[in-house]
Symmetry: C2
C-alpha cells in the first residue's frame, strides 16, 4: 500500500476529549476515528489490525470445534422479555418501530441462540455443541470514556456451548480456557484467569481473562507465586493476604483490563426457552450452557495500552497492519528509483508493506509517523544507502539499525507460505 493513497493518515495533535492512550494513539496514527463517545470508525489501517485479531480468534475457536454462524443484531422484544432481561439489563438499547413493534439491539445473544438451537437439536447425541459468531454488539452505556475499550458499539466474538451435564461443561471450559490463552499469547499478551461474579442470573463464579494495565477498569488480586487471581469485587481478602490457593505467595493488587470472559449459564436459558433433550435413559434434560466472550475491538485497544512508548504504537507482528514500513528519504532520482524497486519486490513476494512515498514530507516527519504507526520493521532507502544498493533496517522496539541488500531483505521477510 502506498501511504500517499491511504485514506486516514496521521494527525499532528491529540484528539479533544480523549483521555485514554489507546484512543489517542489509534486516532493520531490513523487507525480509528471517533464518530461519537463509544462509537469509532475503523479506517483501512485499523480494519487490517481488527481482521487479524478476528482471524487469530477464529482459528482457535474452530480448533476446539466451534462452528461459526452470524445472528441478527436486531431482536424481537419477546425473546428478551422471556428471560426477564428486557426489564433488568440497563444497557439494553430498545427500539420502537413505526408500526409499534419493540426490538432490542443485541448486547449479547443468549436470547437468540437458545431458541435457535432448540429448533435444530434432535438428540442428546448431538451434544456437546459449540457455536460462535464475530459481530458488533450494542450497549446503552451511561459513560463511554475508555476509548475502544468500552463502546456503545463494539466488536465481539461470542461463543455458546451446550452440554448434557456439568462435568462435560467443565471439560470444555478447560479446553476453551487453553484456546483463550493461545489467542492472547498470539497477541503477545499475558492474561490471568480471574475469578469473578457470575452476573445477574447466576450465583456461580465466572472467569475473566485479565491483562494488567493501568488503563483497565477492574482491580484484581493475584498471587505472585501461583496462578491464583480474583476480581476484588468478589474477593473476601485484601492485598498482602496469603494466597488461599498455594498458601505460599502473597496477594498483590493491580489494575487490569478484561480481555475475555466465560460464564457458566447453568440451565437458566435452556429452561426459559424450554430447550431439552432426552438422555439415553429417557430422562428429560435441560442442557447446561456456557458463554465465552472476547471483545475484538477491546483486545485491539488493550494491545495498544500494553505496547506503546512516548512516540507511538509498537504492534506485535501477529496483528500489525503491515509487516514492514518502507520510507524513502531524499529527493534524488536514484533514491526514488531504488525505493520503487524495493517496494515492488516486497509486494511481489507477498510481504505486507506500507510504502511512505510522500514526496513533500520531511525525513523527520516520516520517521515520526513511522514510530506513531508502529509497524514492526522500518526500512529506509536514502542517499546514504542507495550508493551500495542497501536498505537500512530497524525494529520499531529497538534503536539498532543495520544495512542489508535487497535480496537479504526479501529472504528475511518472505512469508513461510511462499518460501
Amino acid at each position: 500500500m502506498r501511504y500517499s493513497k491511504l485514506f486516514g493518515q496521521t494527525k499532528k495533535s491529540s484528539p479533544a476529549g480523549e483521555v485514554t492512550v489507546n484512543a489517542n494513539l489509534l486516532i493520531r496514527a490513523g487507525y480509528v476515528n471517533k464518530l461519537m463517545a463509544g462509537c469509532y470508525s475503523y479506517l483501512p489501517l485499523g480494519l487490517r489490525v481488527l481482521r487479524k485479531i478476528e482471524n487469530i480468534i477464529r482459528k482457535e475457536m474452530n480448533a476446539i470445534g466451534g462452528q461459526e454462524l452470524f445472528l441478527p443484531a436486531l431482536h424481537p422484544a419477546e425473546n428478551w422479555q422471556k428471560t426477564g432481561a428486557w426489564e433488568t439489563v440497563d444497557v439494553l438499547f430498545k427500539i420502537k418501530s413505526r408500526t409499534g413493534r419493540s426490538y432490542a439491539l443485541g448486547q449479547s445473544h443468549e436470547e437468540i441462540i437458545t431458541p435457535l438451537v432448540k429448533e435444530y437439536l434432535d438428540s442428546y447425541q448431538e451434544l456437546p455443541l459449540f457455536v460462535y459468531q464475530i459481530q458488533e454488539k450494542f450497549r446503552d452505556e451511561l459513560r463511554a470514556k475508555s476509548g475502544i475499550l468500552r463502546g456503545r458499539e463494539f466488536g465481539m466474538k461470542d461463543m455458546y456451548s451446550f452440554h448434557l451435564n456439568q462435568g462435560d461443561f467443565e471439560n470444555f471450559y478447560e479446553k476453551a480456557k487453553e484456546a483463550y490463552l493461545k489467542v492472547y499469547q498470539q497477541c503477545a499478551l499475558k492474561a490471568k484467569v480471574t475469578e469473578a461474579s457470575g452476573g445477574a442470573f447466576s450465583q456461580k463464579i465466572s472467569y475473566e481473562f485479565m491483562v494488567l494495565t493501568d488503563a483497565g477498569e477492574d482491580d484484581i488480586l493475584y498471587c505472585q507465586k501461583c496462578n491464583y487471581c480474583i476480581n476484588v469485587e468478589i474477593a473476601e481478602f485484601s492485598q498482602g493476604t496469603k494466597c488461599p490457593k498455594c498458601r505460599r505467595g502473597v496477594l498483590k493488587k493491580a489494575r487490569a483490563s478484561e480481555v475475555g470472559n466465560v460464564f457458566d449459564l447453568g440451565r437458566k436459558y435452556t429452561r426459559d426457552f424450554d430447550l431439552y433433550v432426552y438422555n439415553k435413559n429417557g430422562e428429560k434434560i435441560y442442557p447446561i450452557m456456557g458463554c465465552y466472550g472476547i471483545g475484538t475491538t477491546r483486545l485491539m485497544g488493550v494491545i495498544v495500552e500494553k505496547f506503546h512508548d512516548e512516540r507511538g504504537i509498537i504492534w506485535p507482528e501477529s496483528v500489525a497492519p503491515f509487516k514492514v514500513h518502507l520510507l524513502t528519504i531524499g529527493r534524488s532520482k536514484a533514491v526514488w528509483q531504488f525505493s520503487e524497486k524495493v517496494y515492488c519486490a516486497l509486494v511481489e513476494k507477498g510481504i505486507e508493506v506500507l510504502f511512505d512515498d510522500r514526496r513533500k514530507t520531511s525525513a523527520g516527519e516520516k520517521f515520526a509517523d513511522a514510530d506513531l504507526i508502529g509497524i514492526p520493521y522500518r526500512l529506509v532507502v536514502s542517499d546514504k544507502t542507495v550508493n551500495n544498493r542497501q536498505i537500512e533496517i530497524k525494529k520499531r522496539n529497538q534503536t539498532k539499525t543495520s544495512l542489508v541488500l535487497l535480496a537479504d531483505c526479501l529472504e528475511k521477510f518472505a512469508s513461510p507460505a511462499l518460501k
Copy 2:
C-alpha cells in the same frame, strides 16, 4: 466438514409463513433461519456462502482502488438532522438512549462517511477517493415478505466516491459498472444496467443492476436488441414501444430484482457537511459524490431464485458452501472405510468437502438432502462402487453419473493453487 456434526441440518417441511423460493429453500436446506420477519440468522452453511459472495465483491472493489473501512451502525441523530433525512427517510430506525440521546441505525452511510472524509481530505490532489465497507444495514420496513431479498437487517457493500468534477465521476462510474458486472458474472448472474429514479435528493437518474426473476419487486422495460433498460417507474413509454436507444428493437416488460445500484449524489452531502477543497486555481470546490451499493444477503437470495429446481438449490461453484458433497450409501465396513479414506484425501488436498457421514439415514434421504443443499458435485461411495475402489460422480445440474478412481477425483477437484 462432517454433516453429522454440522449445526443447522435440513428440514422436512417448508417453514410457515415463508412465501418466497429463496427463504423456503435456504431455510429447508439449513442455510438460514428466520428470527422474525426480515431478520435471518446465517447458519454455518449460509455464512460460508455469504463470505464467498463478500470476497468476490471485495476483490473487485479493491481492483478499482476501493479502500475498505468499517463504520458504526449506531449514528448520532445530528448527522441525519443535518441532511434532512431524520425527518424524510421513513425506514430510518430511531433510538432513544436512557440518558435521552437520539440515535439512528444506519440504513446507508452518507451521513457518516462525508464528515469522516472532511476530517482527512487536505488537498484536491487526494481526489478521487473511493472507500467502501461490508456491513449490516437496518431498515424499518412496513412489510418484509421477500425472504432475504428485503430485510429489516441485511448485509450490504456500500462504496462512496469523491470527485473534483462531474467528468471524473462519470469516468469512475464506468469503471464501477464494469466491476459490478464482473461481480454478477462471477455469481453466474446476468445483470441489466437499468435507468431508475435518483431518489429523494436528486433530480438525476440513478442506475440499478437488475436480474430478471419473478421473485423481483421491480418491473423493467428492456430492449431485445441492445442493452437499453429502464425501470417502469420512470419510463415514459410502455411494452411494445420501439427502443429509444437503438431504434431497432422493441421494449419488453419483465419482473426483476435489483442486485446493485449507483447514485450520483452530486454535491448534496458535501454541501450539507461543508466538505470542500481548493482546486489548482484556488477555487473552492465541493466534491461530487457517488454511492454504489450491493446487497450481499440479497445477492445470495437472488442466486437461489435463479438457480434451483423442484428438488432444491443448484449453487454456482463460485459461491457454493462446499465444492463436493460426499455421500456414503450402505452399511458394510468396506464402504465406510473407503469413504473415510476419500474424505481424508479430499481434505488433505484442500478441497472443500461436506461429508454426509450419517449412519442411520437412508440412501433416499441422503440423495434428497444433497439435491436440496445443492453443492455442485455429488460423490457417492456405495457397495456398488467400492469393489473397484471407485466413486460415483454427478453434477447437481446434470443426471449423468460416471465412475472414477480416487486419484482421478483428487486431480479433478484439486484447487489451482495447490496443483
